[in-house]
């Protein structure tokens, strides 16, 4: 198990305390806050969320898996997101995704076994004028080309991990 799978119970309590108990309507916002704290939604967090809001595990699990923005598996240290919006698509986004898949040796939606990188695709981030677009750790890189993406990813993987 990776270091990320252990979650801090105090932090979990702290996030839960920010949300009123027994109010199921707050589920999606609570899941966002839990994910912001743990970078993904650990099983334990989902179970506690269910308890806190008075929902069943099944309901919470059903909701967490419905929305694309929630991750039930630990994510990599670096997140590479390829925009697959229409504008990016007609400007060749598929090739960027393929390049990243080759470079990182994972498929879209997966994390490298060493937890260094997660490769994701997103439907559109509303920065269409910059297409094709790749977001690396939150920073937008517009007018991307496969070879440039390769170099960017290479630079990140050369750097020592932060832990």
């Amino acid at each position: 198990m990776s270091a990320q799978a252990v979650i801090d119970p105090a932090e979990l309590d702290e996030v839960l305390a920010r949300h009123p108990q027994g109010q199921p309507a707050g589920l999606v916002n609570l899941l966002h806050d839990l994910q912001a704290a743990f970078r993904y939604l650990p099983e334990q967090a989902l179970e506690r969320a269910a308890e806190h809001l008075g929902l069943s595990s099944a309901e919470v699990y059903g909701v967490a898996t419905f929305y694309e923005g929630f991750h039930l598996k630990p994510r990599g240290e670096h997140i590479c997101t390829v925009c697959m919006g229409t504008a990016c698509h007609v400007r060749g986004a598929a090739r960027l995704l393929e390049q990243a898949e080759r470079d990182l040796a994972v498929r879209a939606g997966q994390t490298t076994p060493d937890l260094r990188f997660t490769l994701e695709q997103v439907n559109c981030v509303g920065a269409c004028a910059l297409g094709p677009l790749v977001i690396l750790d939150g920073k937008y890189h517009g007018s991307m080309a496969p070879d440039r993406l390769s170099r960017l990813l290479g630079k990140l993987s050369d750097k020592k991990g932060s832990k």
Binding site: E43, L46, S56, S57, A58, E59, V60, Y61, G62, T65, F66
Partner: protein, 251 residues
């Protein structure tokens, strides 16, 4: 105030809040369904109960199970167009659930002898048509063990975190409402296995037939659906005991 509408040119009266399907059924007009159960909340998932509805200038094909009746509505349950769309949706379901008798029979009735489609890429519970009757029944009984998981072409029926669920009491209600009978249930003399868990069976004190699972009884007592001193006699034995008592009085 009653609502007046026409179903297959027959004038019928209905109450506000009623849906086309129930009103039609009351008239003895049958409409095929796969995801409907009168005791459970409507979902409108299978898209088989199609009818044609004319309301003012608007004409549409829609599902009878979840469409509210409205004054002056004209419903046709058996047009060529309706049959064609039902057949196409059954053809889709037939690719998903090739071995489910209910799907096969309905499809055959509508002239779909085989499906021109491939089996869907994601189909972890073979023959499941994703109607969520199981999920709704389980929730309705207060167990909430099952979930509709994921969405789109990856939607499936499952247990949270893909492992046996504490909430499941092994009652088997999910299977009993399942139109495709695709949920695996195994019983031995003393146990029942369902959704990856094995439950002890409670047997009838009188005849020894299985009545329910231990977990189910515990849940029912906890939620006060059954008295604490509930006697585990099956319905059949209760009935025959009653009729014996009756007989002893008469004769």
């Amino acid at each position: 105030m009653s609502i007046r509408l026409w179903i297959d040119d027959r004038e019928v009266l209905a109450e506000p809040g009623e849906r086309i399907l129930e009103v039609a059924q009351r008239q003895g007009i049958s409409i095929p369904t796969l995801c409907h159960h009168p005791a459970l909340p409507v979902l409108g998932a299978c898209r088989v109960c199609l009818v044609e509805v004319q309301q003012g200038k608007r004409r549409e094909i829609t599902t009878a199970c979840n469409t509210l009746v409205q004054e002056g509505m004209r419903v046709a349950t058996d047009t060529a167009e309706v049959r064609g769309h039902r057949a196409m949706n059954l053809e889709l379901l037939r690719a998903r659930a090739p071995e489910a008798p209910a799907v096969r029979e309905l499809a055959t009735q509508l002239g779909v002898a085989r499906s021109r489609f491939r089996p869907p890429a994601q189909n972890p519970l073979p023959n499941c048509i994703l109607c969520e009757l199981c999920v709704r029944a389980c929730a309705h009984l207060g167990h909430h063990a099952l979930a509709a998981v994921g969405r789109g072409d990856k939607k499936r029926i499952g247990l949270p975190h893909n492992r046996p669920a504490e909430a499941c009491v092994g009652c088997g209600s999910c299977l009993s409402v399942c139109p495709t009978r695709c949920i695996l249930l195994k019983e031995t003399a003393t146990t029942r296995t369902i959704w990856g868990q094995t439950f002890e069976l409670v047997r009838c004190k009188s005849c020894g037939a299985p009545v329910m699972t231990e977990a189910q009884r515990a849940h029912a007592i906890r939620t006060k659906q059954l008295p604490e001193d509930h006697d585990d006699t099956c319905e059949l034995c209760k009935q025959s005991a009653a009729s014996q008592r009756l007989a002893s009085v008469v004769w």
